[in-house]
């Protein structure tokens, strides 16, 4: 070791010439699973590089000698790649540009494609020269709890000052701010056995299960199947690991019952065998084909699941262990074997177990110089081709933007500085138990492998095989994978034998736990993504945050997007030591879905923009759209809100015109959206008697009645009408908003409360297009529509009549003499297919009367003018008494809500009554939501008299009018009150009037 110096500072200059040059690939080795015949061009921070097909962004950057890939979250420390997989905490980049820019993408799993653009994050002005690296100098202040302690006061500063500044300083990547141009899809898959992970265990399981004929889904987050087999140099039987993977994949692909999903991450385990998975279909190409999804969110229904998710290597914490070039030893080996790249030509290994030695051996075989293997174990075995320091530790490192040398303390206690450009660290391996914990399963500690493994409380139907279950050797992975598949399928009744498996390495796990180096005053990183150090954990302990969950939240350890895959164990170990406990006594925090980060767009899927949810169109939608309608969303429905006529410049002009025309002549409104429920059966009338608060038993055939529905607590919840078409046949209408709820409650009543009533119900809302034809000319208009053999004179068809008729020469229709506007009015229904034509026909027949289509606004104006209640008044707190219909609640029969409606508190003398409200000054508005207070005096909750529920401008009254609830309001007509709206400093003097502003006697209805 002639080139080794003792405490002499920097003795090694990295190969800077290779950095940043195009087509350099100075760090590319021989072999590997990259297509050298397929070079790919890409950019990182604007510089062009070349890699090969099969590379990830991380491996391609490494091939080009790039070690520095990002800046850390808090301290802006220069960082490089730590891992070779989805657990990566450091190498996060902004991928793509423009609207497709995606922040915080792990370079280690970003598959290289020609034209890929990537940018480093969290730095300004450049990755090499980052202004906020000043934070690193301030690190003594920015420890755990810094924000909690510092930004406590003044309170008002938080939202406006502190938070925006902190967010700007501490963010990682940035979102594009533009709409994502890509589409995302979702879907549903079913299988007997879901196998999660296609490493040796998963492949052996899939072969076994596939040959049995069971329906199998095999998912793999990587773009290659094989897992660690692609990263190792040893063979399987007489084949290389990679060749065995190829052969196995070919056999599986030929099976109709096996579905292989590469680039597909199972993100969550849910109840009863349901799994969530994200398949990345187009992240590895420049852009998805038009209409084709970038990603699919799958919901997988499995009868059994087998977790073969492998394991994740854990680092050892030591001073300045975060310099670019310091990575996990297994990752270093994977880069060399699979991608044929090395972070440096001269590396060292720091390990506490035999697996670290494997990395040294493989790198040496690839021609990389391994300067030293530093093993914490005094009895560590030797490695050929390098110097072993047994019982030694790495105690510090140096290097500005990348590792330049490491300082070790040998077993004899002396320190040495070894110049290396990269260091592989292995602290042992953690089984990937995450999915076993998604239903609160707690893993248990296995002393022999010094790691947590899944315990008995894993999700029902799940088994775990291979390294995920602590079976770390390849042979054990293959065997447990096949055996678990046999067991899972046997439980489903499949008779199956394990697949024949090749001979494979079966090395024992030789690990002596070693978590962090105690020497040194500087910072030793545990969680590199959230910049949490050993010191921070100590501080948390010192400040009494001693539960593992408190530690996590106080220090943010494990709370970054990697969920602490490489850091949680280190944190637990430090904490255990401080508490003087064993690791299993400390316990673990809970892993939650998703296993790896998922883009919001993927969860949104197809549900975006106008397709966010389904839309329901009324039968006359086409006509309305052609005739100036502005539409409003009412639940899922789109309803005409008003119809703008040429020359109208403000919506109020349209609404006033529609309301005036209706009251003076005739207006037409599509009211199809009201729920319609067909109720039949010998006990139909009895049933309605129990559903409605008022009596229905004696309603005559051919008549309609208003009905009020209560909840069982005595509060109103819906109103509508029921029309009796036969002794055993009613058609019930509900409000638009409650159509689904009323139907559900009716099913509840007939199935659960009175199961032996003979009553059958079905919705017919969609089957009939229904129009209100309202106003003094409504009958004249209808006479031109209704076929002549039906007499609709007032005598033959009076108010509250209903009949089945024909219109327009034989089209079947239903006619109801009901009114929401307070005018003489009808509702006419025809089969929905004729709805649009019916609107045209009504308008044509009404031309002579100036028939006017009206929307929901005019409908609202007219119902407020009449004091008719709607959702604003039936708001879940009001009783029949409150809305002025107290006497409707029949006391002669039982119906839902009757008993509780009698409660004393709901019948107090000063109970709220529905009243009308008029501004004393006609120009003033009545504002819904305002509270009613005495004309003078304090405005306070305790002086509250009631509130305004609805208001509109009434063109008939010539002012704003309102409805509201007022204490003992029925007895307070003529009183003046203030309607106050403290939120906007508004006070309007109003007069209490009857809620029936128009035609209080109801004469128009019956005309």
């Amino acid at each position: 070791m002639s080139d080794m110096t003792v405490n002499s500072g920097v003795a090694f200059t990295s190969d800077r010439a290779a950095k940043g040059t195009a087509k350099g690939q100075s760090h590319r080795l021989t072999g590997g699973l990259v297509e050298r015949a397929k070079p790919l061009s890409f950019t990182f921070d604007g510089k062009t590089f070349q890699g090969f097909e099969g590379d990830t962004l991380a491996s391609a950057l490494m091939a080009n000698g790039v070690k520095l890939m990002g800046r850390s979250f808090k301290y802006h420390r220069p960082r490089g790649v730590l891992t070779a997989g989805s657990e990566e905490p450091n190498a996060l980049v902004e991928l793509r540009s423009g609207a497709r820019q995606e922040p915080n993408t792990r370079a280690t799993v970003a598959e290289l494609y020609d034209g890929l653009e990537a940018k480093s994050q969290n730095r300004w002005p450049s990755l090499e020269h980052d202004m906020l690296s000043i934070n690193d100098k301030l690190s003594n202040f920015l420890t755990a709890g810094f924000y909690y302690k510092t930004f406590m006061w003044p309170k008002t500063f938080w939202e406006k000052l502190y938070e925006p500044i902190i967010r700007r300083a501490a963010g990682l990547g940035s979102a594009s701010g533009e709409e994502d141009p890509d589409v995302y899809d979702k879907g549903f898959l079913h299988c007997d056995l879901l196998i999660i992970g296609a490493g040796p265990a998963g492949l052996a399981a899939a072969l076994t299960a596939g040959r049995s004929g069971a329906r199998v889904i095999l998912t793999e987050e990587d773009f290659l199947l094989g897992g660690r087999l692609n990263a190792e140099s040893f063979g399987l039987g007489d084949m290389s690991g990679m060749d065995w993977v190829g052969q196995t994949q070919a056999e599986l692909a030929a099976m109709d019952n096996v579905r292989i999903l590469p680039r597909c991450t199972v993100i969550g385990s849910y109840d009863h065998g349901v799994y969530g998975a994200v398949e990345r279909l187009a992240d590895h190409v420049l852009a998805p084909e038009p209409g084709k999804p970038r990603q699919i969110l799958w919901r997988i229904y499995s009868k059994r699941a087998l977790l073969c998710a492998g394991s994740t290597e854990r680092p050892i914490a030591f001073e300045n262990n975060d310099r670019p070039g310091i990575m996990l030893a297994g990752a270093m080996r994977a880069y060399a074997n699979r991608w044929a790249v090395t972070p440096d030509q001269r590396v060292a290994i720091f390990t506490n177990n035999d697996d670290g030695h494997r990395t040294a051996t493989d790198l040496i075989a690839k021609g990389v110089e391994v300067a030293a293997v530093v093993d914490t174990r005094a009895d560590a075995p030797t490695v050929e081709g390098t110097e072993l320091f047994a019982g030694a530790q790495v105690v510090d490192t140096k290097g500005k933007l990348g590792l330049e040398w490491i300082r070790i303390r040998t077993a004899s206690g002396v320190t040495r500085d070894i110049p290396v450009g990269a260091l592989g660290v292995s602290g042992g391996w953690n089984p990937n138990v995450h999915l076993t914990c998604h239903q609160r399963g707690k893993p248990e500690w296995r002393e022999d492998i010094a790691a947590f493994v899944p315990a008995g409380d894993i999700p029902v139907g799940m088994s775990v095989a291979g390294a995920a279950n602590g079976a770390f050797s390849t042979s054990a992975a293959l065997r447990t994978g096949a055996d678990s598949a046999v067991a899972s399928l046997a439980a489903l009744g499949f008779d199956v034998a394990p697949a024949d498996l090749p001979e494979a390495e079966d090395a024992p796990v030789n690990v002596t736990p070693f978590w962090f180096v105690k020497e040194g005053k500087g910072r030793a990183w545990i969680d590199q993504q959230n910049d949490v150090t050993v010191k921070d954990v100590k501080l948390a302990h010192q400040e009494n945050f001693r539960s593992v969950e408190h530690l996590k939240r106080y220090t943010t350890l494990g709370m970054a997007t990697d969920q602490g895959k490489t850091s949680n164990m280190g944190g637990l170990a430090v904490m255990a030591e401080l508490a003087g406990k064993e690791i299993p006594q400390i316990g673990t925090t809970i892993f939650r879905p998703p296993y790896t980060p998922v883009a919001m767009g993927t969860f949104g899927g197809r549900s975006r923009g106008k397709e966010f949810r389904p839309t329901r169109l009324t039968p006359s939608h086409k006509w309305a759209a052609e005739n100036g309608a502005t539409f409003v969303e009412v639940g899922q429905w789109l309803r005409a809100q008003w119809y703008e006529k040429p020359g109208e410049t403000h919506w109020r002009q349209s609404v006033d015109r529609e309301a005036l025309a209706t009251r003076s002549s005739v207006g037409i409104c599509d009211v199809t959206t009201l729920g319609k429920i067909d109720v039949q059966g010998a006990d139909a009338a009895t049933f309605l008697n129990r559903i409605y608060a008022n009596a229905f038993g004696k309603l005559a055939v051919g008549k309609v009645r208003y009905g009020l529905m209560l909840r069982e607590d005595g509060i109103c919840y819906d109103d509508g009408t029921a029309a009796r078409f036969a002794e055993d046949h009613f058609v019930v209408t509900t409000t638009t908003a409650n159509a689904v709820v009323v139907y559900r409650n009716m099913e509840f009543a007939r199935q659960c409360l009175w199961p032996d009533l003979d009553v059958q119900i079905i919705s017919t809302t969609e089957a009939w297009a229904q129009f209100a034809v309202a106003g003094p000319k409504s009958r004249d208009l209808l006479r031109k529509i209704v076929d002549a053999d039906h007499d609709i004179s007032n005598e033959a068809f009076p108010f509250m009549g209903c009949a089945e008729i024909t219109v327009c020469g034989g089209v079947r229709a239903r006619l109801f003499r009901i009114s929401f506007s307070g005018e003489m009015a009808y509702e006419i229904a025809v089969p929905t297919r004729y709805g649009n034509a019916m609107m045209e026909a009504l308008m044509e027949a009404g031309e002579a009367f100036g028939a006017t289509p009206y929307g929901t606004e005019a409908l609202g104006v007219m119902r407020i003018e009449k004091g008719h209640v709607t959702g604003n008044e039936l708001n879940g707190t009001t009783t029949a008494l409150n809305i002025g219909l107290g006497r409707m609640v029949s006391q002669k029969k039982d119906s839902i809500g009757t008993v509780n409606s009698r409660r004393e508190g709901l019948n107090a003398e000063d109970a709220l009554n529905l009243v009308g409200l008029k501004p004393v000054a006609a120009t003033e508005p009545v504002v819904p939501g305002s509270h009613l207070m005495a004309e003078t005096g304090e405005v306070h909750a305790k002086t509250d008299q009631g509130y305004v529920t609805s208001a509109a401008y009434s063109p008939h009254i010539g002012s704003s009018i309102g409805l509201g609830f007022l204490k003992n309001g029925s007895a307070r007509m003529g009183e003046r009150l203030r309607a106050v709206n403290p939120l906007q400093g508004q006070e309007v003097l109003v007069e209490v009037v009857s809620a029936h502003f128009i035609d209080p006697e109801g004469e128009r209805l019956r005309g």
Partner: protein, 95 residues
């Protein structure tokens, strides 16, 4: 979750609407002298067990059956599913 519908077999819980405690089937006698009290309890008092719970689910996006599902609220294990109409009759409800 998956609910094993007594007629249709295993169905995704997404197809269902949840109501709550199956004691809602046991609507008190409105004619009883203490109906005020029994209806108060019926509407407002529920057991909220950490463990096995009988509850009402409605197959709204399916056959419109109300079901009584026996579910462990700690583990979500479902041990029994009945048509609510059958359960209601078994509890003495009729017309």
């Amino acid at each position: 979750m998956i609910i094993n519908h007594p007629i249709l077999g295993p169905r995704d819980a997404q197809e269902f609407t949840y109501l709550g405690d199956a004691s809602l089937i046991e609507r008190p006698d409105p004619q009883a002298e203490n109906a005020d009290e029994t209806f108060h309890d019926y509407v407002y008092l529920r057991d909220n067990p950490a463990g096995e719970h009988q509850e009402l689910w409605y197959h709204e996006q399916g056959d419109r059956s109300w079901l009584v599902v026996t579910r462990n609220t700690l583990t979500h294990e479902i041990t029994d599913v009945q048509l609510a109409r059958d359960a209601a009759r078994a509890r003495g409800r009729s017309k």
